[in-house]
Symmetry: C2
Subunit: 115 residues, 2 copies
DNA sequence: ATTTCATTTCGTTATTTGACGAAATATAAA
DNA sequence: TTTATATTTCGTCAAATAACGAAATGAAAT
């Protein structure tokens, strides 16, 4: 039960939910998320480590950056069921829509570099 | 987004999850849950009011008692999707199995009365 | 090897949360 | 109407959580 509770807990914070929704768009590095969320890097990093430990996201390295994305192979049936549901949910939410818009302007690799 | 966060938050506490799982068996009054959970009535009452405010459970009166059960008509698509999943999950969990067993012995209306 | 810079870890602080018992409320029985 | 009892509300306290800046870490570039 602890694993499932951890998963729900990781999804019950507004900023972590925004992170999950943003990662449905594309993999992101910490600095990009920092810009969209308006939080400090240490705070975003803590949220990411919590989501990772809950089994919802994973990371890979690209040069000096660490990119995060939603897990490709969930470690539990619960997460495998929740992730698809989460992509249907909240797409009409104003904050989420705004994050999606801002994500377009915050791309480290192209135009507006954030870090 | 706040409603969904509230739903997830209500599901990220061990005792509230045990309550949800117990209510999958049958409607229960506060005193019955108190016995199984080993918590004070005020604590159980607080958990119930949180689950109710999240839209997961509802209540009805029967004499001097107030019975709680899972909502028949969820107020959101999210809850409508989550409730069926929750009945598949955690049925092999030791704590949940133990609660199920104890529920059989704690029936206010028959044999062992708890309150 | 040193510098640079993205990220994580650490220490601190304010807020939220879960627990309790006591008091208040409500409702059925006497 | 008074009594009995199930439930909720209130006040309190300890523990968990989310935020920050500063310092530490790690990996690529010079």
């Amino acid at each position: 039960m602890d694993n499932l509770l951890k998963t729900f807990k990781s999804l019950s914070d507004k900023n972590r939910m925004r992170i999950v929704k943003m990662l449905q768009v594309r993999p992101l590095c910490v600095c990009e998320m920092t810009v969209v969320l308006g939080l400090s890097m240490s705070t975003v990093s803590a949220h990411l480590s919590l989501l990772k430990s809950a089994g919802l996201i994973e990371s890979f390295k690209d040069g000096r950056w660490i990119y995060y994305n939603l897990v490709k192979n969930p470690t539990s049936q619960e997460i495998a069921s929740l992730l698809p549901l989460l992509s249907y949910w909240l797409n009409d939410d104003e904050i989420v829509k705004n994050d999606f818009e801002r994500l377009k302007t915050v791309d480290r690799e192209t135009s507006m570099s954030c870090c």
